[in-house]
């Protein structure tokens, strides 16, 4: 039982990161009906911006890991990536509005590759060590142990989810976002500037991806320019699992995926699945979901209109 609870904690902290990335996929899908392939690479960029911000800040103040450092690294990275996300949208996707879906998809793949291999050019192909930004400790409650990193993942995700819910439900831009995803033509007829809202959505999603990148780097400190590939794909699976376009669904899907993946590895002896097949879990889930409930757990079933 204790082992199960321990796995659950690990799984939830992994799932929280997936959830943050998945939110970006789902929001962009909501307003543009397209999968932003480069989202996983914005996540990677977030980790790298954090790495350099930490180097710069710590170099300036000679400070070791502290809460202040962590918060500023997180905020800097989120801000930079929000801008990068908006720039990508403006340069690569905006000119392709109303073009065939395939054209946009290919462009997104191009952007994704550009970020990955531009990253190799710029940061170097080898792994970088992400130095700790916050002092870490381990807490024991009975037989369970929970690290401060896991607590940070939970609390950051929790705060960001609350903030996102507030933005989407209570602010004017959030309302505009929902209107746009409901019906773009009607939204623009009501005086909503669609391109501003789309830009904002990209910024918001990219900031969340950057936060996820920092949390990932705190958890797994070796980062490479290709680090965003697998988490990006898995987060997409999480978004599909929750019902793509549905914000609570993305969070739920991320958590379910993280827990399932961790449990499969944790009980690999019992299940007779080698732990190296961990990455396959997401795709098995994807297939099962596509076969039995393509609209996802919380998604509405809609038929495509001509």
């Amino acid at each position: 039982m204790n082992q199960f609870l321990q796995q659950l904690i690990n799984g939830l902290s992994l799932g929280a990161i997936y959830a943050l990335i998945a939110l970006g996929y789902t929001m962009v899908y909501g307003v543009l009906r397209f999968i932003n392939f480069a989202h996983g690479d914005v996540f990677m960029l977030g980790a790298y911006v954090g790495l350099y911000a930490r180097r710069y800040l710590a170099g300036q103040t000679q400070a070791g890991p502290s809460l202040g450092l962590a918060v500023s690294v997180l905020l800097i990275s989120m801000a930079v990536c929000a801008i990068v996300g908006m720039v990508i949208e403006r340069l690569a996707y905006a000119p392709l509005r109303n073009r065939p879906r395939l054209t946009v998809l290919i462009t997104a793949i191009g952007v994704s590759l550009f970020l990955e291999y531009g990253g190799q050019q710029f940061f170097g192909a080898g792994p970088h060590f992400f130095a700790p930004i916050i002092p870490s400790y381990k807490m024991h409650t009975g037989a369970l142990s929970i690290t401060s990193n896991e607590l940070i993942v939970f609390s950051v995700t929790f705060v960001l989810l609350i903030a996102l819910t507030f933005i989407v439900l209570k602010t004017k831009l959030g309302t505009a976002m929902r209107a746009l995803s409901f019906n773009p033509t009607a939204a623009s007829l009501m005086g909503i500037n669609n391109s501003v809202v789309i830009s904002f959505t990209f910024g918001l999603g990219s900031a969340l991806a950057a936060a996820a990148g920092i949390l990932w780097a705190v958890k797994y400190p070796a980062i490479t320019p290709l680090v965003g590939l697998l988490p990006g794909i898995k987060a997409f699976v999480a978004a599909v699992l929750g019902g793509i376009g549905n914000i609570p669904g993305a969070a739920l899907g991320g958590l379910i995926l993280g827990v399932t993946e961790t449990l499969v590895v944790g009980y690999s002896d019992l299940l007779h699945i080698p732990p190296s097949y961990k990455d396959a879990v997401a795709f098995v889930i994807l297939i099962v979901i596509l076969l039995f409930k393509p609209s996802g757990l919380l998604g509405k079933t809609t038929s495509e209109k001509v």
Binding site: F37, R99, R101, T107, L113, P274, I287
Partner: protein, 345 residues
Amino acid sequence: MRPKIYFLIGVLVSFLVWYFVPMDQYIREIVLTIGINIILAVSLNLVNGHTGQFSIGHAGFMAIGAYFSAWITTVGAPTWWPSLDLSGGLAGTLVFLGALLAGALLAALAGLLIGIPTLRLRGDYLAIATLGFGEIIRVVIQNTEVVGGSRGFSVAYGYATIFWTYLFAALTIYVVANLVNSAYGRGFLAVRDDEVAAESIGVNTTKYKVIAFVLAAFFAGIAGGLYSHFKQYLHPDRFNFITSIEVVVMVIVGGMGSTFGVIAAAIVLSLLPEALRFIPQFYQQIFGVSLPHLVDDLLKNRMMIYSLLLIILMLTRPQGIFGGISGRPAFLFKRKSVRADGLAS
């Protein structure tokens, strides 16, 4: 009857080239790579170009064909028929062809299993699902000890000659071009042009998508089998998503749906890395100074050039460099040709 004649001419030429044209190791390697890339690109074009779906997991099917056929010729056949001399001759050739077919069939089976659930949905799902499955296939191979796992796998015989490679390249072109130009093959184009309309007039869109996907996987398996019996060494990392992306770039640059364009792109893009390798040397010889460091690095980072190529093409000429041009060069085919969009040109 015309296409059949061209197919036979292709076979004949590849035989003559293989038999009479002397080549050093370096040239031979490039020529074989081009042949394999033509098979990969033309087969992927059936899915990404003619049927309008989007698969970026072609390397996975190639890996299945490569590993399974290599396993048969290296491990399987010598244990099943220990008395046979497999190093060449009729027995070796038959075993090679059998292995090639078996690898392709296994790849096609994998294509069927992956295609049925994912192809019911729209293209974007397919893109990510195929990317994921390509990676999964690689992970599975990495964990399969009988084919060397992550240590790599040495293949016993280098059966893949220029003759065999180009014979299969000609076969791939023949099958794909004839299929999409046949009455039956109109279904692929219908699915691409308007899926809802196609369905409403009774085209079984899922069936067409699955058929395209399975056929493409089959030929990717053939390409893999040729690759393994040409390099004689396999490593799972060779079949990662970069390989898939390279094939996708060939299809897009060539023009989705244009067989001629895709073949041209496969040739040009296979030669590109070699050409890029010589640019710094030339520059040094002409100007006496070596290239600026940044440019030099950029030339080595082929994927970055590809990614920019993709973005710029999509923004300026989404039909690809050769797209929109008829599927075959007009000077070769006097017969009234039919454009990829189904209108007489």
